[in-house]
């Protein structure tokens, strides 16, 4: 069951949800989070929103967010919640990005006993599962740098 070059070229990546991140060119690349930036006061948000809660501006621009951040806090989920595609145990983290945006995410490629507040992490593509056409449904996680 090896992927031939043909299969690798035709196998598409489909985002778990549209509009939250930009897919990388290839499965080896990193996604880019897409948030909102206020054209008036420059405040940033993720996920996107329509109105700036710092200055009231109605109508925000789409913006790319930094791919690296620091763990502001975390926990280790030991029980898989209803509906989750990810099986416990796994690490949940709140990551602070350079735009002063805090996002909630799951950590990848990490020793669960080694997760610490303050760790530097970077975004990474996460394959979640295959859809019925054999495409990879992908999302984002963060992993230690």
């Amino acid at each position: 069951m090896t992927d031939t070059k043909e299969e690798a070229k035709t196998k598409r990546m489909v985002p778990l949800r549209e509009g939250m991140f930009r897919l990388p060119e290839s499965p080896d690349g990193k996604p880019v989070l897409l948030g909102s930036r206020c054209p008036r006061c420059a405040a940033c948000y993720f996920p996107k929103r329509h109105i700036c809660i710092a200055c009231g501006q109605n109508g925000l621009d789409e913006t790319e967010l930094g791919q690296r951040g620091k763990i502001w806090t975390f926990t280790i989920a030991r029980q898989t919640p209803p509906g989750s595609w990810i099986e416990a145990p796994y690490a949940i983290a709140v990551v602070e990005l350079p735009e002063k945006v805090a996002i909630r995410t799951v950590l990848a490629d990490v020793d669960l006993d080694a997760v610490k507040v303050g760790m530097d992490v970077e975004i990474t593509l996460a394959k979640m599962k295959e859809d019925q056409e054999g495409n990879d449904i992908v999302s984002y996680k963060f992993r230690p740098i």
Binding site: T73, A77, I86, R104, V117
Partner: protein, 378 residues
């Protein structure tokens, strides 16, 4: 500074025990609590001029179905939802109704019937799993665990500090015949129970529950006909999160900010509080809230609990009836149960749970959607 206008008295309180009652309907649970409150107040149901029903899951018409168990007197009945703080918010609305002169004596019934297990919060309106749900981020103990981990990293608090909340809670619950769990637990039993989201173990999570609470309020003038020792609901206010650029918020609402406003309205401070209820859906709830209510300094909540300050015999008794952890948590009923225990404490009717000389009580109740803070006083 005190409050202006009509003063509000809590005239009667009642509960249906919290636990599992599969054979009972929401109306059965509510009726039992309501009857107990009516008897406690020494009134007749026909004296009730308005009804409020705090509940989360039960749908349209539930308030009426409960009040109609007692009578069909034409009063306005309003369903109120604020997740785990539903009957607290319903109580504030009832207070405002009395102060506005819309009605005098009224009753707030809180009720819930719940399935077992983790609440399925990661789904959209049509039952489809959401992004957050699929990514495993819709984990309710997770929110409190995230706060606990930050607290441990910043202030050096330890997992056993949080676990101690459950030890105290179950010790108190064993003294409460209405509690879902009436069995003390040791620290080892709490810490060795299954880990759910580090550092929160299974026994540091509140259960899901069936149950009901009922609170009867009236004006001070009306209360004089029924009691010579009224308990006043001095202040009750609610809030939702306040956006502060660059700050991360994991809490249901701005507790410290709201507590400050409630203290001002009551003309009091943390030093005046003799007994309290905090939202301990998971143990970090108590550790963090005692700081935000000003019972101890920021960062010292873990040690404050660990050293026994929130025990019934401590400096600031919290959740003397077992709290959500041991008393149970039928979501819509919890706010009214918090009021019930505070009222019993202030009346001197808390029996083996009695805090000596309790004259002023404080309540903090939180839910997905906001928080509520109240002060009661003799």
């Amino acid at each position: 500074m005190g409050e202006d206008g009509i003063k509000v008295v809590v005239l009667g309180v009642g509960l249906h025990p919290f636990g599992r009652f599969p054979e009972k309907s929401v109306a059965d649970l509510g009726r039992t609590a309501a009857l107990e409150a009516v008897k406690d107040a020494g009134v007749d149901y026909k004296d009730i001029q308005a009804g409020y029903c705090g509940r989360v899951v039960a749908s349209s018409g539930v308030g009426l179905s409960i009040f109609e168990e007692l009578g069909s007197t034409g009063i306005p009945v309003t369903n109120v939802e604020l997740a785990c703080a539903s009957s607290s918010r319903a109580t504030e609305l009832a207070v405002n109704g009395i102060k506005a002169g819309a009605h005098d004596m009224c009753m707030i019934v809180g009720v819930e019937k719940m399935p077992r297990g983790m609440l399925p919060v990661g789904f959209g309106a049509g039952g489809e799993v959401s992004f957050v749900g699929a990514m495993g981020l819709a984990l309710l103990p997770g929110e409190y665990a995230l706060q606990a981990q930050r607290h441990m990293a910043l202030y050096g608090s330890r997992p056993e500090h949080f676990a101690q909340v459950s030890v105290k809670s179950h010790k108190n619950g064993a003294l409460n015949p209405y509690a879902q769990y009436q069995v003390p637990l040791t620290l080892e039993e709490v810490m060795n129970s299954r880990m759910v989201a580090d550092p929160i173990t299974l026994y540091q999570c509140c259960p899901t529950s069936d149950g009901a609470s009922a609170v009867i309020l009236c004006s001070e003038g009306t209360a004089r006909r029924y009691t010579t020792k009224p308990v006043y609901l001095v202040a009750s206010m609610g809030a939702t999160p306040i956006y502060t650029p660059g700050e991360v918020n994991l809490s249901e609402g701005p507790t410290a900010w709201l507590a400050q406003r409630v203290y001002e309205k009551a003309g009091m401070g943390p030093e005046d509080i003799d007994v309290a209820q905090c939202h301990d859906a998971f143990t970090p709830g108590e550790v963090l809230t005692v700081e935000k209510l000003g019972f101890c300094k920021e960062g010292e909540g873990g040690v404050f609990v660990w050293e026994g300050n929130t025990e019934i015999t401590g400096r600031k008794p919290v959740n003397t009836d077992g709290g959500l952890l041991s008393r149970g948590h039928p979501m819509g009923a919890t706010g009214g149960a918090m009021i019930t225990e505070i009222v019993r404490q202030l009346r001197g009717e808390a029996g083996p749970r009695q805090v000596a000389n309790a004259k002023v009580g404080m309540i903090h109740n939180a839910g997905i959607g906001g928080i509520q803070v109240s002060i009661l006083s003799t």
